[in-house]
Amino acid sequence: MTDLLTRLATGRVLVGDGAWGTLLLARGLRQGEPPEGVNLTRPEVLEDIATQYLKAGADLITTNTFGGSPARLRQFGLDGQTEAINSAAVVAVRRVAQGHAYTSASVGPSGHLLKPYGDADPADIGTGFERQIRALAEAGADLLCIETMTDLAEAVLAVRAARTVAPSLPVMATMTFESTRRGFFTVMGASIELAVRGLSDAGADILGSNCGNGSEAMVAIAREFRARTARPIAIQPNAGLPQPLAGVLVYPETPEFMAEQARELLAAGVAIIGGCCGTTPAHTRALREVVG
């Protein structure tokens, strides 16, 4: 397959996959169980989900490693298996996607607040990201997808870790913003302007936003990124914000609605359009149709 960045440089827009958590739950993941545990116990489930997203037309398939940093796995006593957990997830997606789609290795937040606001030592968190990313890269990931970050300092640690241990892999780094009266900020106070500068300086190849917003707010976020960077932009909205319906929660945005907003994202010059929480293979299929 053509290298991801070369492909994006031609102006080709790529489609990302959708949510994994809900599909894992539908396949027997129990409430409170670490989603990454499945990587070791039932990798065939990962292949099943990856297959669904591939069939739906995704160009990038995400690995089930969002919580795969040792700091996060420690909460379940699984940090000793960091390498095996991350490696197994990449292997499973690659088995399905190789030659058809890019294996996008997810790296989520550590789950800890860095000093001085919390107890986490930035050096430890950075070393932890290096450990996770080394395992992802050695198992054959095509790119690193650092996502759902709200602390720019932590996001920068992850991007630097990627640059250090996997210098040849493209790095996508996306943050989660809130809409405020003064514009978009993460809860930790990073503006899009600061995010662009910080992530670019750290060496991210692709910048953008995922989670926290439905597709309408993401259009505004995408436009602001476009105004501030020439690098490729990745946008992965939630299917809206969950609404209660007869005792359960449903994400309100239909594939059709999201596809309509995707036209705006294309017009804003977004290079990678995918989905986050609440999106399904049906959403991926709808995005595929719009992107072409």
């Binding site: 607040l113 900020f185 969950p242 209660p244």
Partner: protein
């Protein structure tokens, strides 16, 4: 500016050592602990909460202000207890079973403490029984439940039902919050209140403890 408003301003700036210094100074001058608490610490945290709600400041600012508040509170708590000053009430909080997210919950704890409540923080991944047991043990009149995952939100309903099953619904009220939680969800599961954010959670808790049992 008075010493008490200096305390409030130092707290907003997150100056923990300065807040402790000023609180000691106020005590040395003979100010009552309850007055220092209300006009210094609670007043300062009130501003912090409002500014965060409007996102004029962000989580890091709140966390530093909270550290300064606790530095002052540590000095006042023993005196308040000795003088028999009643707290605003006792609230048990935690993230529900299966949910490991605690930043939002911690924020609510900070704001409640900053509003004069005694806060019993059970941490995250808390089973329904532990919430209800802790409320009984500590004489809490409110249980605050946090969930950040749509998959863990149904556990909130289990807690509400357990409170009812034990016949405590007149004495112990349940408030719910968290990014995917809504007012409509709170009503559906029979919770007594919904906190949109930390500041509104404090307002709702105040209203809940005012409601005669």
């Amino acid at each position: 500016m008075s010493l008490l408003s200096d305390i409030a301003v130092s707290l907003q700036r997150g100056e923990d050592e300065q807040v402790a210094l000023l609180v000691r100074q106020a005590l040395d001058e003979g100010q009552e602990a309850a007055v220092i608490l209300h006009d210094g610490l609670i007043a300062g945290m009130g501003v912090v909460g409002e500014q965060f709600r409007e996102r004029e400041i962000f989580l890091p600012d709140v966390l530093l202000a909270a550290r300064a508040m606790y530095a002052g509170l540590a000095l006042l708590k023993p005196l308040l207890a000795k003088e028999g000053v009643p707290t605003a009430g006792t609230v048990v909080i935690g993230s529900v079973r299966g949910d490991l997210h605690d930043i939002g919950k911690n924020l609510v704890g900070i704001m409640l403490a900053g509003a004069g409540f005694d806060v019993v923080d059970l941490g995250n991944d808390v089973a329904p029984e532990r919430f209800v047991d802790a409320a009984c043990d500590h004489g809490a009149s409110v249980i605050g439940l946090s969930a950040l995952l749509t998959t863990t939100m149904p556990v909130m309903k289990d807690v509400v039902e357990l409170v009812k099953a034990r016949g405590l619904q007149d004495r112990v009220k349940v408030i719910v919050g968290g990014a995917p939680v809504s007012d409509a969800w709170a009503r559906q599961i029979g919770a007594d209140a919904y906190g949109y954010d930390a500041a509104s959670a404090v307002e709702r808790v105040r209203a809940l403890v005012r409601t005669p049992a």
